[in-house]
Symmetry: C2
Subunit: 283 residues, 2 copies
């Protein structure tokens, strides 16, 4: 999908998140924000929101003189998410429809995102997805295909923390005798999971983990590694988590199962849902 | 209260609202947004968010060559809100605590704001305030003082549309034998109500309506008219609706009953509540 003018304030909001992830002095944050502001003029509606964000965030990194402002937050996200593993297991234990439950648990992971501060939010997200379900629900198609077994599944992950919630689904996909490759980013961008995160939560013990070869939000073909592109082309089924991957994969040429919560009006409109709603959509 | 760096993306968001209120071509919106972007560098943390917004919105008006981009939206807001008058009367008819109910109905008006598109949202807001009530609730103090009667009450209104919901409360204040002066803005800014709106919804038939003498968001003393400042000083009780008035009145020297829904994290933090929560606070 393409960016809209509505996205422009949001690029600045993301810049603010990155700056305040490591700087707390308001006067200094203000100074840095005002150095980022001129870069907004370089954003382009022909690109995806994810690509425009990346361009701005790379400018922020330059200013901050770091390549990973979210490093500490990611450690914290993984730590908090790992504390939920017992709860995840107990949901799975009570479930009569394990694949469906695992898909739902995976979207709970997407809800937590950077806001991983309060246990109560995660709890509320569990309740929401089990009460309301998916507004767009192609999960039965995913389940159908996965149950046939012997598929190559490319699972494109999103954030640190969230990756823990994906483990449950990855485990179920493997249990149905599929081969799963889990994808993280090739370099730090926002709070997106890296190989380090995959190791930290032991995703690499479950399946092969590769990266996009790129530190861009989502998946941008021209910046992706040949290894990733090969896995992308050879996969029988592609599962994608989160908005950044949705924004960019919809510009590429394969059908993908998108599992996400619509966190902004622009993505919600593209999906035909309302902000805050959760989807498992084949597009 | 003072602005924070978190407000800066929001100024741009408000600029986007103003631009798209009258321009639909995305390329043109993009061009105008990029002409507004440099003005963000002029925002100052020493000012209130409302003042910074006003400065940016005035630049938008210059670019758009209009003094009231929200003119049509305001007409629409009043029209939709007037359709709810029957519902408001029926809430009042069923109420055993008329003043408390009227205060609650008035905050429902604050919820609708610019998003006055779907009836269902207003309905949900009615349900929320009657189910959850105010998170900060000094309404009993307001009720106590109001019931003594013979008070001069200055009621500082907020948006078009919302003003219809305030009529119910104004009527109750008068029924308790108080004298009410209702305040609108002195010139167009955002979707804030003007004298024209007060007439359109017949607020002027209930009580005296004056304006701030200013087209700034909220109440900024140095731009306010002597008439308004006299009414402000002479009032026994001041009731204020909405965030803009909260942001600015907290910089002045009188205790005010603030009735609002916290629509952003910055104001929510200042109030000590969470975004989305509703308050009737004496500060």
């Amino acid at each position: 999908m393409k960016a809209t003018t509505e996205c422009i304030p949001c690029y600045l909001k993301q810049a603010h998140s990155a700056i305040t992830a490591i700087i707390s002095d308001e006067a200094e944050v203000d100074r840095l924000m005002k150095r980022i502001v001129p870069h907004l003029s370089g954003t382009r509606l022909q690109l995806t929101p994810a690509e425009n964000s990346t361009v701005i965030l790379k400018q922020v990194n330059k200013l901050l003189n770091t390549d990973d402002p979210f490093y500490r937050q990611k450690r914290q996200c993984n730590r908090v998410a790992l504390q939920w593993e017992g709860e995840l297991d107990s949901y799975m234990g009570r479930s009569s429809d394990r694949l469906k439950t695992a898909i739902k648990l995976s979207v709970v992971g997407n809800v937590i995102d950077l806001g991983i501060k309060e246990r109560v939010d995660i709890k509320a997200s569990f309740e929401a997805i089990f009460a309301d379900g998916f507004v767009l629900d192609d999960s039965y198609r995913l389940i159908e295909r996965v149950q046939e077994g012997r598929k190559k599944i490319l699972f494109i992950g999103d954030n640190a923390g969230e990756i823990v919630f994906d483990k449950v689904l990855v485990r179920e996909l493997i249990r149905c005798e599929n081969e799963v490759v889990y994808v993280v980013k090739g370099g730090p961008i926002l709070n997106d999971a890296l190989i380090e995160d995959a190791r930290e939560v032991e995703m690499d013990r479950l399946c092969r983990v590769i990266d996009t070869g790129s530190d861009w939000v989502g998946v941008v073909e021209k910046y992706s590694s040949p290894e990733f592109m090969r896995a992308y082309r050879e996969a029988d089924i592609i599962v994608s988590k989160g908005q950044g991957n949705y924004e960019t994969l919809t510009e590429m040429n394969r059908k993908v199962f998108h599992i996400l919560k619509a966190k902004c009006d622009v993505v919600a409109r593209a999906l035909g849902v309302r902000r805050g709603e959760m989807v498992c959509q084949l597009e």
